[in-house]
C-alpha cells in the first residue's frame, strides 16, 4: 500500500527538467552577476584591502624608467667624433625599479670609442642592461662614437629612433605591505568625532525634515482639485532636476552679497546684515531674553536635503493615503470625529508602516549622500560628513589609504543600519 503511495506522489529530488530550468536561470543571471560583482562587490572588498595599505594618490602611477636621447657635436667628415647621450631617470622619487633595460636602434656607420660596460651593440641594436635603479635615480649615459662615410651619406639622425625602457616595479596595490596607520590616523584625528556627530545630525534631521515635508505635501494633495496634476509635477521638480543645477542655484540664491534671499530678508528688515548661510559655522538668536546658538551652515544643508528629497516621501505617502478605504472615514464622521482626530487616530496609524520604512530607507540614503554637501559647502563650516571626509582624505589630501579607511567606517555603520532594517522592517510594506 505504502509503495503505491510513494509512486503516485510528486517526484522527489531534482529532475532533468528542473536542472535545465536552473541552468537557464543561472545563464540569464550570469551577465548581471558578473558586472555587479566587478563593479560593486569586488571594489567593496578592494576598499577594505586599500584601507590597510599605505597608498598615496600619486602612487597609482607606477614608477617608470624614462630616457631621452641627445646628440652632441657635429660631424662633417669621416673620423669626426660625436657623442650620443641618454638621459635616464626614474619617474618616481621613492620607489625602485628592477631589471631596467634600455634598447635603441643603432645607426650604421657609427663606431663607439669606448662602450659603457653595461651596454652591447648587436647588429643594428643597442641594448643596455641597467639593473636595478633607485627612486630619484638620474644618470647621463654617454657614448663617444666616430663617424664614417656611411653615416654621413645616410643622413640618419640617431635621435630618429626613440629609446625604449623596460623595467619591473612593484604594484603598490597588490604587494603585501599592510599597515594599520590609516585607521590610526582616522580615529586619532581630532575632527573625526565631530565629523561623526555632524553625519548623524545631518542624517537624522535631513531624513526627518524630508519626511515631515513629504507628509504635509501629501496631506495637501490628497483631495481632488483643478490643477492637481500640474502641482504634483511641480512638487517633484527638486528631485528630478540634476543635483548640480539645484545645488548651485541654492548657492547663488543664498549668496551673502549677490543672493536674492539675503536681499529680501534685509529689505524686509528680517536680517540686520548679510547672512552667510553656507559659510558661517554658528549663528545665534535671542528668544525671550535667552540666547540660542545653532550650527548655521549645517542647518542650511539640512534644509536643502529636506527640500530636495521631500518629493519622494510625498509620492509614497500619497500613494498609501489613496489606498486607504474611505468607509472608515465615513464611519468616523458619523461618530463625530473631528478632522484632527481623524488624522491622528485613523490616518497616522495607517501610515505608520510606510513612514517607518521610508524613514529607514531614506536614513540609509541620506547617510550615503555625498554630492549635495560637497557641492553646497565642500564640507566646510562644520558640514563635513563621513562621505565628504572620504573625498577629503582620499583625494584632497591625496591619501587614498586613509580615504579607504573612512569608507570602511561608512560601510560598517551602514551595514549595521541595514541589519537593523531587515530585522525590524514590516514584511508587507516597501
Amino acid at each position: 500500500m505504502s509503495s503505491i503511495e510513494t509512486a503516485v506522489g510528486p517526484p522527489k529530488g531534482v529532475g532533468p527538467m528542473q536542472r535545465r530550468e536552473a541552468r537557464l536561470a543561472y545563464g540569464m543571471l550570469a551577465p548581471t552577476f558578473l558586472i555587479v560583482a566587478t563593479i560593486v562587490l569586488i571594489p567593496l572588498i578592494a576598499n577594505f584591502w586599500i584601507s590597510f595599505k599605505p597608498v598615496q594618490l600619486g602612487d597609482l602611477r607606477p614608477p617608470t624608467p624614462v630616457a631621452s636621447e641627445r646628440v652632441r657635436g657635429d660631424a662633417t667628415a669621416a673620423g669626426d667624433r660625436i657623442r650620443i647621450e641618454y638621459r635616464l631617470r626614474n619617474s618616481s622619487r621613492e620607489r625602485a625599479i628592477t631589471d631596467v633595460i634600455m634598447t635603441d636602434s643603432w645607426v650604421d656607420g657609427l663606431t663607439p670609442v669606448k662602450l659603457d660596460p653595461r651596454c652591447a651593440i648587436t647588429g643594428q641594436n643597442l641594448r643596455c642592461d641597467l639593473g636595478n635603479i633607485e627612486g630619484g635615480f638620474r644618470e647621463r649615459l654617454k657614448i663617444e662614437v666616430t663617424v664614417d662615410e656611411a653615416y654621413l651619406a645616410s643622413k640618419t639622425n640617431p635621435k630618429d629612433s626613440k629609446p625604449v625602457m623596460t623595467g619591473d616595479s612593484e604594484n603598490i596595490l597588490t604587494n603585501t605591505e599592510l599597515t594599520l596607520d590609516n585607521f590610526r590616523k582616522v580615529f586619532e584625528a581630532s575632527e573625526f568625532w565631530s565629523v561623526l556627530k555632524v553625519t548623524i545630525y545631518y542624517t537624522v534631521f535631513g531624513t526627518g525634515g524630508a519626511l515631515v515635508l513629504g507628509l504635509f505635501a501629501a496631506l495637501l494633495m490628497n483631495q481632488a482639485f483643478r490643477g492637481r496634476a500640474l502641482l504634483r509635477g511641480l512638487f517633484l521638480f527638486p528631485y528630478v532636476a540634476p543635483v548640480i543645477a539645484v545645488a548651485f542655484t541654492w548657492v547663488v540664491l543664498l549668496d551673502p552679497f549677490s543672493g536674492a534671499l539675503n536681499a529680501i530678508l534685509q529689505q524686509m528688515g528680517a536680517a540686520g546684515g548679510p547672512i552667510n548661510f553656507f559659510g558661517q559655522r554658528e549663528a545665534s538668536f535671542t528668544l525671550l531674553g535667552l540666547e540660542f546658538t545653532f550650527p548655521l551652515a549645517l542647518t542650511t544643508v539640512i534644509a536643502f536635503e529636506a527640500w530636495r528629497y521631500f518629493p519622494l516621501s510625498f509620492l509614497f505617502i500619497l500613494a498609501r493615503m489613496q489606498s486607504i478605504s474611505g468607509d472608515m472615514y465615513e464611519a468616523a464622521e458619523m461618530d463625530g470625529a473631528t478632522p484632527l482626530q481623524q488624522f491622528w487616530y485613523l490616518s497616522l496609524p495607517q501610515l505608520a508602516g510606510i513612514l517607518s520604512v521610508l524613514f529607514l530607507l531614506r536614513f540609509i540614503w541620506t547617510f550615503n549622500k555625498f554630492d549635495d554637501i560637497f557641492l553646497l559647502t565642500g564640507g566646510g563650516a562644520g558640514t563635513r560628513t563621513l562621505t565628504v571626509d572620504v573625498y577629503e582624505q582620499g583625494f584632497a589630501l591625496a591619501n587614498l589609504g586613509a580615504g579607504a579607511a573612512v569608507a570602511v567606517v561608512v560601510f560598517v555603520v551602514l551595514f549595521t543600519f541595514s541589519i537593523i532594517y531587515f530585522r525590524f522592517s514590516p514584511k508587507d510594506e516597501g
Partner: protein, 411 residues
C-alpha cells in the same frame, strides 16, 4: 479654556492676518523681483488690513454675506492697507513703477478678500463646535501650505532661470532686480547660453550626456530583463536569497566604491574615458532595474507564457513575443528612471573625467564653478542640464512617477 478659544472671531483673526501677511510677502516680493524697484513690503499693514476685512465678513451671518458685503470687505482691505502703510504699501512713493504697484495692490486686495471668503464663508460668530472649528482651521492652513510649498519649490527654479539671463554687474548692483532686460534683443538676453555653446563646448557636453544616458538605459535593459525574468519566473536554488539581496546591493554607497574603482580604472587606463563611465553607470542601475522589473513580471499572468511554451516557443521567444510586449509600461518606467539617474549622475563623472573633450553636462557645469567664470554662465549651464530632464519628466510624467515610486527608495 480651549472651548472659549473655539470661536468664529478667532478664526477670522487668524485667517485675515495670515492671508494679509502672506499675500503681501509673496506679491510684494514678486513685485520687487519683476519691477526691479527697491520695495519694502509693509507686511504688518497688510496683516491688519486682512484682519479687518475678515471681521467685516464676520459681522454678517453666513447667509447674509452677499456680494455687496464681500465688496465692502475688499474695500476695507484696500483702505486699511493704504492707511496703515501711510500710502506706501511697498515702502515706495506711488510714482515709482506705478503700473506694477497698482497691479500688485489689486492682486493683494483680490487675493486677501477671496481667501478670506473661501476660508470663512460658512463660519459663524461666537462659540463653534470643535468639528467646525477644526474644519475651518484646517482649511486656512491648507491654503497656507499650498502657497508655501509652491513658493519654496518654484522660487529656486525661478532664480535659476532669471540669474542665467542677467549679468554679473547688475546682479551685484541689485540682487533683487530680476526684471527682464530686452534692450539687447533676444541674442542679448540669451548671451550666456550663446557663449556656453560657442566657447565652452556645451553642445558637445549635451551630446555626450545624451549618448551616455541612452547607452546606459540600453545596457541596463539588456542585462536586467533576462535577470528579472529568471528571478520572477524560473525556479532555481538560491532564488529567494537572490531576490532579497538585490536590494542590499543597491544600498552600497557610491563613495565606498569610488576609491577602489578610481585606483583600478587608473591603472587600466579606463579612468578619464567615456567607456569607463559606461561600465560603472549600468552596474549601479542594473540592480534597481532588475528589482523593479521582477516585481512587474511577477504580476503578469503566467498562463500566457505557458501557452506560448506549449505552442513551441523557446524561452527567448516567450520573453520577446509575450513578456516584453506586455510589460512595455514597466519598461518605459525603468528606462526613464535609469535615464534620469545617468543624466544627473555627478560623483563618478566628477572623479573620472579630466579631459574637457569628454565631459558630461554635470561635469561641464561643475567646471564653470570658478571665480573666473561669471555666475550667469554657471546658471545657464545648470539650465541647459536641467531643461532636457524636466522636459522628459513632464512629457512622460505618468511613467516617470511610476518609476520613481517603484525604484526610488534609492536617492
Amino acid at each position: 479654556m480651549m472651548a472659549v478659544l473655539r470661536n468664529g472671531l478667532l478664526l477670522a483673526v487668524i485667517s485675515g492676518a495670515l492671508w494679509g501677511a502672506i499675500a503681501m510677502i509673496v506679491i510684494g516680493v514678486t513685485f520687487a523681483l519683476i519691477s526691479g524697484a527697491p520695495a519694502q513690503p509693509s507686511v504688518n499693514a497688510a496683516a491688519l488690513a486682512g484682519l479687518l476685512g475678515a471681521l467685516v465678513l464676520m459681522a454678517r451671518t453666513p447667509d447674509q454675506r452677499t456680494p455687496a458685503v464681500r465688496a465692502v470687505s475688499a474695500a476695507v482691505v484696500l483702505v486699511i492697507l493704504f492707511a496703515a502703510s501711510f500710502a506706501h504699501p511697498f515702502g515706495l512713493p506711488l510714482d515709482v513703477a506705478p503700473f506694477w504697484q497698482i497691479v500688485s495692490v489689486m492682486l493683494i486686495v483680490g487675493t486677501v478678500s477671496f481667501t478670506n471668503w473661501a476660508c470663512l464663508y460658512d463660519a459663524t460668530r461666537g462659540a463653534l463646535r470643535r468639528y467646525d472649528f477644526e474644519k475651518i482651521l484646517i482649511r486656512i492652513f491648507k491654503g497656507f501650505g499650498f502657497v508655501t510649498f509652491t513658493v519654496i519649490v518654484a522660487l529656486p527654479f525661478y532664480i535659476l532661470v532669471m540669474t542665467s539671463l542677467k549679468s554679473q554687474q547688475s546682479l551685484l548692483a541689485n540682487p533683487l532686480d530680476f526684471s527682464i532686460d530686452f534692450s539687447g534683443g533676444v541674442s542679448g538676453l540669451f548671451r550666456s547660453y550663446v557663449e556656453l555653446f560657442e566657447q565652452f563646448n556645451f553642445g558637445r557636453y549635451l551630446l555626450i550626456s545624451s549618448i551616455v544616458s541612452v547607452a546606459t538605459v540600453i545596457l541596463t535593459l539588456l542585462f536586467s530583463v533576462p535577470g528579472a525574468y529568471a528571478v520572477s519566473r524560473l525556479r532555481f536554488p538560491g532564488r529567494s536569497v537572490l531576490s532579497r539581496s538585490i536590494l542590499l546591493i543597491y544600498m552600497v554607497p557610491a563613495i565606498v566604491l569610488v576609491i577602489p574603482l578610481y585606483a583600478v580604472f587608473s591603472q587600466l587606463g579606463l579612468r578619464n574615458t567615456v567607456a569607463g563611465l559606461l561600465i560603472i553607470y549600468p552596474a549601479t542601475t542594473i540592480p534597481v532595474a532588475l528589482y523593479m522589473l521582477q516585481g512587474y513580471f511577477q504580476g503578469l499572468p503566467a498562463e500566457l507564457e505557458e501557452a506560448g511554451l506549449m505552442d513551441g516557443l523557446s524561452r527567448l521567444g516567450v520573453i520577446i513575443k509575450i513578456t516584453l510586449p506586455l510589460s512595455l509600461p514597466a519598461m518605459a518606467s525603468v528606462s526613464l528612471y535609469v535615464f534620469m539617474i545617468a543624466w544627473n549622475e555627478f560623483l563618478f563623472a566628477f572623479m573620472f573625467l579630466d579631459d574637457p573633450d569628454i565631459f558630461t553636462l554635470s561635469r561641464g557645469v561643475v567646471s564653470l564653478n570658478s571665480s573666473e567664470v561669471p555666475r550667469q554662465h554657471l546658471m545657464a549651464g545648470a539650465v541647459i542640464a536641467t531643461l532636457p530632464i524636466l522636459g522628459i519628466f513632464l512629457w512622460f510624467e505618468r511613467y516617470m512617477v511610476q518609476g520613481l515610486t517603484a525604484g526610488s527608495v534609492k536617492g
